[in-house]
Subunit: 327 residues, 2 copies
Amino acid sequence: MTRNNIIGVPTITDIEEAYERINGQVKRTPVLSSESINRILGAQIFFKCENFQKVGAFKFRGASNAVLSLSEQEASKGVATHSSGNHAAALALAAALRGIPAHVVMPNNSPLIKRRAVEGYGARITYCNPTQQDREETLAKVQMRTGSAFVHPYDNTRVICGQGTAAMELLQEVNNLNTVIVPIGGGGLMSGTTIYVKGASSAIKVFGAEPRNADDAFRSLRDNTLHPSVNPATIADGLLTSLSPLTFKIVAGLSNGILTVSENDIVDAMRMIWERMKIIVEPSAAVPLAAVMANPDKFKDQRIGIILTGGNVDLDKLPFGKSLATL
Amino acid sequence: MTRNNIIGVPTITDIEEAYERINGQVKRTPVLSSESINRILGAQIFFKCENFQKVGAFKFRGASNAVLSLSEQEASKGVATHSSGNHAAALALAAALRGIPAHVVMPNNSPLIKRRAVEGYGARITYCNPTQQDREETLAKVQMRTGSAFVHPYDNTRVICGQGTAAMELLQEVNNLNTVIVPIGGGGLMSGTTIYVKGASSAIKVFGAEPRNADDAFRSLRDNTLHPSVNPATIADGLLTSLSPLTFKIVAGLSNGILTVSENDIVDAMRMIWERMKIIVEPSAAVPLAAVMANPDKFKDQRIGIILTGGNVDLDKLPFGKSLATL
């Protein structure tokens, strides 16, 4: 085992400790393979099924680690975040399981289905205008009023370490992987995965996979400068966010780089997983498989681990049998 | 253990022998549960996931048992059937794995997606007009020309015994079931399931679940007379067929009866499985859960086994977010 030595960055030991902390609360998800997908792609792919995780996404790992790491005194005042997606639901459930309040700041144009999911886990929602400024100001007010601890969706070492436990379970179950690929949005999962995998074996390559229409991570690594995500327009709605300085440092310093894919590639990969494996994944989760499909020579005959990040889709708005332009 | 004593009907021993025969070829599918479904319905439900079976349906069990039961001489001439659904694909794959020809008679108006599935497993398709008479005459001609053995989709003891192995695996894995529910169309799965479950423990109830719009089994058991299915119109397209004299005898003689459900119940149950379990099942597979949802008092606090029969849906034609009238 090697240790990364970037100052302020968690190590594999921190992820192992996170695993001990959340182990009883987080579901150990299965690793599935499909003979027909392997035959079509000429590679051995091992899918870590976080779509079966509680709240339907890997985000429950990071949120659980953040909530369970709080002292009794910190915890008593609750936790807060701004998010309209899987992180908000994950934090709400993790807080409910510890018996503490969760405060979620959400844009007032969030889809009803997402509000209901967060409310269903018992969180208190405060609505804001859908601008970054109002979101941050509203969150600051909520924290001031409640004294709650802010749990950022990815710019948080506890969250990063929790996300890294998915790769830890994958490597416990599958030997001799050549490559691990995960979707990259804000970089929390990618950071935790890279730290764990490189800490366990520097021979395993780790790639992030990203929609070409939201390629801030690709551009940031290429230019060695943190670029924000500008007007991203992708079906992979979990990958709209920008890297933070912390996740940029980890991903640029330790990973093997970023692969980008088209919107059509994403829908084709999602359809392949649905049809061949009979499991439901959200578009963001299909991005790593899309990267394998788009780079057949690069990955031929390899043993590849992919984290299927989530399964939360609105069944009334599926991308099949429609033109992408109408989505 | 008890033995049924209806003349000409297979016994639990025949199913155990079928299991030994097909064990190396058929996938042992997982049994999954959902905490949220159990909480909503106030019962413990154990789903045997034959949607993950090879060809995406339990039909591969019966087809495998039929093909592997043939003598070398019989097998050399191949197998034949008329079907446009999962049985045709299952027989095609089972024949391909034994290295023998499969002949499938299919109506010339079958959807392209079904033709491709059967062709993809290497079967030779003969098209007929979409009438029962032309189907049977065309099959007779194919058999005459090739000498192939007819494997009926359900009116066949080898097929029935193969289908019964799904319940056998379910009971191996889950103790103390109160009830087992399976969809009923032609009655092959229901017959094999009833024989196995009642043979293993007469205390376990076995119900068939059927769309109200295709309720020939319900009417047949009620009147103790075999009624054909007349103009069935249901989204559960695997359940359009009528019982045969053999399956009627088994189901009427040994099971605890038939539960019928509405089309809306079927779509609601299918949605619940997709959303809560993140797995893909076809409408027919959701019919038993629909029966539990429609009869909450009957099944309260019970341990219920359900066979999820298949996962083959056309993703371009899903029932969500649409009026049922447009399907």
